[in-house]
Symmetry: D5
Subunit: 149 residues, 10 copies
């Protein structure tokens, strides 16, 4: 028996097919009718897709059933440290290192003792035009969960 293709292999094929077919992540998301950050994350292996979503994505990308099967797998989430050191990703970590304690203080001030959920959670990204250079705007939107015994 062949084991189900790993999600990292599937992601590698998705990335290759996307480039060769000249598709955009945004375009794929639009075709699937799913949010763009969620879709990109799912195709890179961080969320399981439904059978329909996986089939539709593979059809768009010209990929076979073994990729679609993999995209439906329950993932083991997270990225390896080497990936997190890439400058484009590192800037987020740096911002957290600078603003994390302030965000904690303000979450507690506004909501009490608890956290912003990273599970009941969504992320969006947009471009904000600015005469001094356009800006990347990322929004983290998570349900507040209070420490409740």
């Amino acid at each position: 028996m062949t084991p189900i293709m790993s999600k990292s292999t599937a992601a590698e094929l998705v990335v290759s097919a996307r480039i060769r077919r000249g598709l955009t992540w945004a375009g794929i998301a639009e075709q699937l009718g799913t949010p763009v950050v969620w879709t990109t994350a799912a195709l890179l292996g961080q969320h399981p897709m439904s059978a329909e979503q996986a089939d539709r994505a593979c059809q768009l990308l010209g990929l076979g059933e073994e990729v679609a099967e993999s995209l439906q797998l329950q993932p083991s989430r997270g990225s390896d440290p080497a990936t997190m050191a890439d400058p484009t990703i590192y800037r987020f970590s740096e911002a957290l290192s600078v603003y994390g304690p302030a965000l904690k203080a303000l979450i507690h001030e506004e909501f009490g003792d608890g956290i912003m959920s990273a599970i009941n959670f969504q992320v969006d990204i947009s471009r904000r035009p600015d005469p001094d250079g356009d800006r990347v705007v990322i929004t983290f939107d998570g349900k507040f969960l209070d420490y409740k015994w």
Copy 2:
């Protein structure tokens, strides 16, 4: 000669005075006329304040000149790993570990090869009411910087 008070000692005094005087971070920011995340981060030691800002903050908090002097120091930025493991802060790191590669892919798709600046950058936090439980909304807004030789 006494050395200038360290920013961590100053932050400890700021936190203690804020609690004892019953002030909020938002209230202090409003009094200073500065954004709330910036103000909180600066008082916790991550940004230098101007002499006026530092004096005004210490007046509000009933703290002496040696704290105001410290608040104006150029900081060595960043938080220690123990602090970053606190659950309220960790959720942001976890979200980055899950969505970081997707955000990188989408920044490159929309803007080309480059990064979101963590320097020409601002953060905001707000509460979004939701019948299923209110939500924490954090916005990261940074200038796009393209790799330019």
Copy 3:
């Protein structure tokens, strides 16, 4: 101004007073009317207490107001790695290392894609008599949170 006593100093005083007064954690919890694991964790610095809880605890322990003030502080949660290596605590980490992937698989099977909350969460401990040697029974009880965009 004296800064508020750190939660680790407060915990050290709580531990010392508890031993010298011959009190038990269970007894203190009973007096406070709060669950025993929550109470012990709070007195060791992992949860903020209300003013009443803190005052009542300090009264029982013969500790002063500066300890009560500290017990109400919002904590930065977590334990340092040296503490986690103590054999009594390490056995839990070992069990997670052995059973963690199985628990993940079973949570997904029973509940779908999501996690057991560590925030909306409670822990209990009890002794189960057994002729072959009594048993420690620890129950983790957390709300299921599904990945919801």
Copy 4:
């Protein structure tokens, strides 16, 4: 000579076959007559199975003898750090980081100087219905071992 298949390869095949055959872990455990967490952990490589258990499991999963041979191997136990960072598993580690010292204190108070065994030990998982959202209930049940010279 071909070496015996590694337990990680066997686990990969078990996972793939389970999904493709539409079996549940609970169903496999029931068929084997073994506890569900133990069974899942054993099939993922953390416990050796008896020849009968391994053969029966492979028959259910449509896997060959080389998998059954591997499932009987004495394992080298434990999970790699990347796996432990998956959010579903991490929440347990976080809970231990918050409640570990309290559990240690309460074990010593109730039982004296010693540990909860992670060897003479069993884990169970169940769903507890709750109007505010169902709950995951995990029970760790280990024999108390006292430090005995």
Copy 5:
């Protein structure tokens, strides 16, 4: 209130007093009627002593009550990595790194799936005269615990 003296401070005083009084660890153990490795470990902070043992030890060493109080504390066990790198201690770690997998294989062969307990456990050390140079003989003697569900 003064907190109870930490076990590391107590150990430092024990070591200093032992040297200045010209006592041996073996002699102290003999006086206490306790095994020599256990006694040394307990005085260095790895085991709690009974009140009688602690008082008797402090009397021999000319140390005060605050040391005796500390010696009775429940310890957080383990040594820091810097200490473990000392050559005299490192040789044991090296031997484990070379012979650990062999010992694991032989324990499983002789006893089945399980471990040698480090809790129901004792250590002894002796000198074995040898014409080629005397030998250090360390015996680890722990109860076998089998994986039992």
Copy 6:
């Protein structure tokens, strides 16, 4: 040219053959006339065997010349951290973390400034029957080496 088989590949084949042939480590050692811990460690790759020992071992195990060639290689000794975290091996590390400083103190007291050699060194393992459960007895026996300039 084919490179000589790595000692880890050889060990994997030895382990597989031993199981399939139903041999014990003790039995192999007896056949070779070599101590059991040494033999097991050597077959797992931690000691070089003589040509005769390697040939004899491979004959018993039904393995070819390329394995015998590998068993004679000078090893790079040591085990990887993942292996050392297996519970059966970890208990030894834990015992060292608890008793290491005591053993150091007692070695210095009895022998002076120096170490127990891990080179001029032997390990033995035996079972000691005990009505409360049989015990694993491990003996480390190494020549004392004093710091000598």
Copy 7:
């Protein structure tokens, strides 16, 4: 479908072809009309090349289209720790460890609170003849970015 060749495989082929064809990095850069450090970094996988640049480079090196395709990929930037420990590269890290805080102080003195961009950034290397031994001169030239909210 074959995935696009990884940038590390492409770099390995570039390095091999460069040596076998007797080309220099400087010569390749001259042929491409691009700066030498940028070109070398891009061919080693740290910058995406345009289709023209990639095709031209592969033509010079006698490499096929699959390499050219890889050279155009958006990279995940950064080098692994083993590479950074090579003595030729380590000297730069050492210099930063010695002069980093001084450079930080001088950047703040001359420019205010901010950083030298590593994105809007170029590096050059040259040889400066010196009777006591020629010198390597590396210039880092990055736009100043001030902390701007």
Copy 8:
């Protein structure tokens, strides 16, 4: 006897005095007649100063003899990891991580097998006006040392 003041304490006093007296690092360097990066690094504890340099610096800064004594000490060089994570310093590390292998390749191409010395070495920093925003220019200038047996 009082031990000589540590270089980190001396640096703290230098920094405090410099701010309070309104001196610049460049101004101090000019007064001492020494290069500005060297001077700043030396005052921050990375190079020993001559007695004259140390006395002259302390006179300018209004610091006592015990600081001057410390500035002459032979340093143990290097910065701690927390400092190296400050964004202003981190950008240099990031640039090395991206361009390090390219610089290594070009040093070997131009000079042969060897390194740029970090000992026979100097650093300079300057501002280069640019209509798009001024630039920080850092020059590393080190003697080439070839691997010579």
Copy 9:
């Protein structure tokens, strides 16, 4: 195109051929007319060989051109941590951990502020007969480089 063989593969083949042909490192060095430590290090991948040296070495070892090509490659120097933990290599690290600060102090006393070069550097090894057991004598001989601005 086949990439040039990696230096680690080349080293593996060199080691295998050396054993099978019954050659010694010293004998190979003598044939090449190069110092023995340098030769061994170069064949293990730490120094580039000239074309003649590489060809001559491969001829002695019966290895092909693809190995000779690899031996001429510019290496990325250094050994991985697992290798450095082998007892025979670790003893050197231990000696440095014990004597490093003393050697630093004595280098500064005798030569002033600077280092012993590890580039303009040679190592030799010899056997010194001793009635109490022969001794390994290793000599490190490097040019002194003073901190020179």
Copy 10:
């Protein structure tokens, strides 16, 4: 009771006194009649001194009895990682990383399976005049210990 002064405090006082009295390490060693590297290492806390050696050293340095008492303590040997990163010490580590596997190969070739003792061991340092710049010569001389069961 005052605990015995720690060896790190004693070393700090020794270093301060040595500088203020204008003594050299070599001079102190000569006065004590002990080898210079041993003496420096012992005064820095890596070897216990005899009472006479300690008294004589303290007399030369003008230090009190509490230092002499500390110098006789049995040390916990080794240096912290920050110290080992100092460039003067790091060069030795780098050399080991480059030549360690070669030295291992040559020790095994010349002596068989075993190690160079780091206990029955001495180090010497000398200056070798050279027209191209004087050289630091370090000799490690340790007894060979063969793996002997």
